[in-house]
Assembly symmetry: C2
Homo-oligomer: 242 residues x 2
């Protein structure tokens, strides 16, 4: 099966959580936005599924994944689907729900990370909401980061006798996503995240272990992984990283 990933070009965004799973799982996939428009790719290929009148089950937004005739949207839902197929999820149903639960908690965290620079409206520029962004970020770094990272560190700790990751005895897609969130936080808030990770050694170790995995290393080295940038989910505005 050749999977088709549909996600906006030029940013890692939420698509990157799916890419990391596809890469680590050794899946064959096409990143459709990177295919030339003349060959049916690019942004029009994405719009076609979002806006086409003949799409019976349209996704609300990218990323979405085409697997045969199935079209699957919402990042955690895509990972739920791929987890079993790419051997990146627990094999028992209780473990799968637990992994998905953690992924949904990460998704909540990701919304809050995004909203630090866009607290008023996602359709407005950062420059149109700077004072609100500063207040929101202050609250986020003081209260939300410790709450989320403290929770995930605890999850790692309680699973430590079973395995190296967050769930069960093997690396799952949740670990890949967690490592990506840590990388993103370090990009966006180098000072605050150094401070927040100082007391969370398991999260630091998990990040390093994920980015040392052979297929992830190969993916990063390939140049196909985009750099973090300020049109993306994780943004570095020094004034926010006080």
């Amino acid at each position: 099966m050749i999977y088709e990933l549909y996600y906006w070009p030029g940013i890692q965004g939420r698509g990157e959580f799916v890419r990391l799973a596809l890469e680590d799982g050794g899946a064959d996939y096409v990143d459709v936005a990177l295919v030339p428009e003349e060959q049916g790719g690019g942004v029009p290929a994405i719009q076609r599924y979002l806006d086409g009148d003949d799409i019976k089950r349209p996704p609300f937004a990218p990323p979405f994944l085409k697997a045969g005739r199935q079209l699957i949207g919402q990042t955690p839902n895509i990972l739920l689907f791929l987890g079993g197929r790419l051997d990146l999820a627990p094999r028992d149903s209780a473990g799968r729900l637990w992994a998905h639960q953690l992924q949904l908690t990460l998704a909540d965290f990701i919304v809050e990370i995004h909203d630090t620079h866009h607290p008023i409206g996602s359709g407005l520029y950062y420059e149109q909401q700077k004072p609100a962004a500063q207040r929101r970020t202050r609250d986020f770094l003081a209260n939300r980061v410790p709450k989320f990272l403290g929770y995930f560190e605890r999850v790692l700790e309680r699973n430590a006798t079973d395995g190296p990751g967050m769930v069960g005895n093997r690396v799952t897609y949740v670990d890949l996503s967690m490592a990506q969130v840590i990388a993103g936080l370090r990009y966006a808030f180098p000072n605050a995240s150094r401070e927040a990770l100082r007391t969370r050694p398991r999260l630091r170790t998990l990040h390093d272990a994920v980015f040392a995995r052979p297929r992830i290393k190969r993916y990063v080295a390939s140049g196909r992984r985009l750099a973090f940038n300020n049109d993306d989910l994780f943004r570095r505005y020094p004034e926010l990283d006080a």
Copy 2:
């Protein structure tokens, strides 16, 4: 099986999406926060799972559901679990993923609804963030409500030849949640939601059909369904409903 639902007392909140499924599915369940503390209920029973050192797979936040020995957190995950058991989900796996995808899109919408009154920090009072709340709500009502409701109306329309709800040929938990979101929007923003629903007849019909279902009617009539209030997810601040 007697399910145990753990959710903060005094508000509908995210717990209500689970309650509607349990009620409509005719499940036996205990709303643990309503059980007296002396009998092992109340808020301490919730805290026990959030904070207990011996909880191997702790939830991040309520609601969570105990089903036998399994503890399941995150509203859409709980509904994914219950959907099949309560006959409130499609029977095929592609349909289940699609229902879950819609539920996750509703979850995104719910975060944005909440953040209209809390754009800066969930730990602060509304009164501490009123100007930001007004700006965020203006953007929400102008751009986000039409985008989300337009999407869900379209989903209903494209499924209309198959069934009365959003997915397949039967009512699912997604329909129950959608109806609850409409009820909440009407409470929070009576003017803006009248306007927004004027051109979305299928959503209005879905809302009425859900609240006319015998078990839902019985639940509402029982007095067990709490009223919407301003400590909750959906809040009515007239100054925001311009």
